[in-house]
């Protein structure tokens, strides 16, 4: 069935965007703008592929991806939080470094057949018509992405720690005066973002296209960054945005194969155009946008000792 087939492709295409965007959302909610998502993602991809290839276990690969992303983001955290370098410049540098470094690390893995993370088989449910293959016969990363959305939402808006994190993102100096450990919280938020991007990278090299090639993230980190703004720093909207982008991307490919007769360049631009339109629609209400934007985003903070 064609709808089912399209949905399956959309899920695979959207999952890495959602996962890395959620990580960046938490980082930004703490007031830190990390433009190194692409770099962390590609480091996660190469680490996951290498670990899975050497151990034969895709789960080990997944964990290696998470670890690589987190460790790599630590570099960013150290530079921007401890040495107080410019966040934008450091983030860009992290992306460039990640793309180059991953190419070096992965050189011997190019062209080798990858290890695929298998889809889960849930007895009974996986065999249901339509919903079975779409919802209950996915790889673990899809379920993780949904759990992450629920978890991040609960953490930010229902838990006390989440409230503190948001306070730090809005006004680090007030939070500091209240005795919150701003720098430590920001370190953790950056590392959570790195871990998520690493996990998204693992999805690329273990599920989406189980192989390693240099630059295989092909700009998905940047899309994730845009999705955070698109979703006005709210997890469910980020999920919706990720799926909208994935759906339009895959939909336009199907439209081309179907011979719909629209120019291919227009169709290729469609996902971006759709995202911009929704972005405008959402940011129409300035008040809600202001409420959700972390007020100190991208601004350095040095606690007075």
């Amino acid at each position: 069935m064609i709808v089912e087939a399209i949905l399956l492709t959309v899920i695979t295409a959207s999952t890495p965007l959602v996962i890395s965007a959620l990580g960046e959302l938490v980082t930004e909610r703490a007031g830190v703008l990390n433009l190194g998502v692409e770099g962390m993602m590609i480091m996660g991809a190469v680490a996951a592929f290498a670990a899975a290839q050497m151990t034969g276990s895709p789960l080990t690969g997944m964990i290696a991806g998470i670890a690589a992303g987190a460790v790599f983001s630590l570099l960013f955290a150290f530079l921007t939080l401890t040495l107080v370098t410019n966040q934008v410049a450091t983030g860009l540098a992290l992306t460039i470094l990640g793309l180059g470094l991953s190419g070096q690390i992965g050189e011997s893995f190019v062209g080798q057949p990858g290890v695929r993370l298998p889809a889960l088989n849930i007895p009974g449910l996986s065999d249901l018509p339509f919903v079975g293959p779409v919802l209950f016969h996915q790889d673990i990363l899809f379920y993780l992405s949904i759990v992450l959305v629920i978890g991040v939402h609960w953490f930010l808006f229902k838990s006390r720690t989440g409230l503190m994190l948001r306070a730090i993102g809005d006004s680090p100096s007030s939070a500091h005066t209240l005795g919150l450990k701003v720098i430590r919280a920001r370190y953790l938020a950056v590392m959570f973002g790195g871990a998520c991007s690493g996990l998204a990278g693992a999805q690329l090299s273990l599920v989406y296209t189980p192989q390693w090639v240099e630059n295989m993230s092909s700009g998905r980190g940047w899309i994730a960054l845009a999705l955070v703004v698109f979703g006005s720093w709210r997890p469910w909207r980020v999920l919706a945005g990720g799926y909208l982008f994935g759906a339009v991307t895959v939909g336009q490919l199907h439209a081309q194969a179907f011979g719909i007769g629209l120019p291919a360049q227009f169709l290729s631009a469609l996902p971006y155009a759709a995202t911009i339109v929704v972005l405008i629609a959402i940011s129409h209400n300035r008040r809600t946008t202001l409420i959700n934007t972390p007020a100190s985003l991208g601004k350095p903070f040095v606690p007075d000792r």
Binding site: G111, T209, V213
Partner: protein, 357 residues
């Protein structure tokens, strides 16, 4: 006496090795610039294999430094100029987008020779070279029409430039020669390199009922999808059999080494001059990877077609042939000239897609 002879031999050997070392300093430098990484699994890797073959052929006589991941644009000019300053005698710039940079640098270094791949601008010290990829695509079309049960192939295309359009047309010509009603679905992904998007396009094509895939993009992702879904596909630029051991029918493989050896030899012989070279299957600049995963009769037909293209008996674009909209292009027996092919911006009759302009 014996001792003396040994000592003599030893001293000769020492002298030889010293003169060997002296030679090392003035090895001729043949240099390369790649747009991608030398292990991209596709286009740039094919050029690097050519470089390695060249190095092996001339051994100690030459050195072959290369620069990889050179972006097209101003950076390319700096990269090429650096090589020219470092005393390279012949520089191969291997991507279309290096064209203007090559011409500019060549003006500054009239004594250095340059060869630019797939371009059309030349100078006294700049030649161009290209490969008749379309000959391979014709063979792929023949095989596809024989192998497909649904009579429809899927084509993952990058950008609507003549090179790619020519490939689609050649594939269609090959397929039509077997099955006049053969259909093709084309998806333009607007990228040379995005494994995810290429995989998505492959899935979209398969979900719409094609049972053969062919690609004009650089990664093995579509081949992997073909393998996973148990259908057949054609590789591109490099042999992709590792990604699709049960899927790959053949791969149109770039084997630039022959050309690099030929031109370096010409340089040594003092016979190098600026040319616009466009070699094909018969010259060995492209090679069909082994015909696999197909019945013997199809394999035989593919081999015969290949032989006929080499001998010139078959030219993929031979009249009578109309353009897609039905306007006549080639008269009966007429063969397309190179200039039209290199600027091809129209589909031939039978292609079921609207060409993006």
């Amino acid at each position: 006496m014996k001792k003396l002879a040994l000592a003599f031999a030893a001293s000769v050997a020492t002298m030889l090795s010293v003169s060997g070392a002296a030679n090392a300093a003035d090895k001729t430098k043949i240099c390369f610039v790649y747009v991608g990484s030398k292990t991209d699994g596709g286009y740039s890797q094919a050029h690097d294999l050519g470089r390695q073959e060249l190095q092996k052929h001339f051994g100690d006589k030459i050195e072959t430094p290369f620069l990889e991941n050179v972006p097209e644009g101003p950076d390319a000019e700096r990269a090429i100029e650096r090589l020219a300053r470092e005393d390279c005698k012949l520089i191969f710039t291997t991507s279309f987008g290096f064209m203007d940079a090559t011409i500019k640098v060549a003006k500054k270094f009239p004594k250095v020779k340059f060869e630019h791949a797939t371009g059309f601008k030349t100078a006294d010290n700049v030649g161009t070279y290209n490969s008749r990829f379309y000959e391979g695509r014709y063979i792929a079309g023949v095989i596809a029409a024989k192998m497909s049960k649904t009579g429809t192939a899927g084509y993952i295309a990058s950008f609507p430039i003549p090179e790619v359009v020519m490939g689609i047309n050649a594939f269609e010509q090959g397929a039509k020669s077997v099955n006049p009603n053969f259909k093709m679905k084309v998806i333009w992904v607007n990228t040379w390199f995005d494994p995810g998007k290429e995989a998505d396009a492959a899935k979209a094509l398969l979900d719409q009922g094609v049972d053969i895939l062919t690609q004009h993009t650089d990664t093995t992702a579509p081949m992997q999808i073909a393998e996973q879904r148990g259908i057949k596909a054609f590789g591109q630029a490099s042999d992709m059999i590792a990604a699709g051991p049960h899927a790959q029918l053949t791969s149109i493989t770039d084997t630039w080494g022959v050309y690099y050896i030929k031109r370096t030899q010409a340089l040594f012989d003092g016979k190098w001059k600026s040319e616009q070279s466009w070699d094909g299957l018969k010259d060995g600049i492209l090679t069909m990877a082994p015909y696999t995963n197909m019945p013997d009769d199809v394999k035989k037909l593919a081999e015969e077609t290949e032989a006929k293209i080499k001998s010139g008996e078959i030219h993929p674009f031979t009249g009578p042939l109309n353009k897609q909209d039905g306007t006549p292009w080639l008269k009966a027996g007429e063969k397309a000239d190179d200039k039209t092919l290199l600027g091809m911006n129209f589909y031939v009759e039978g292609v079921d897609d609207k060409l993006p302009k």
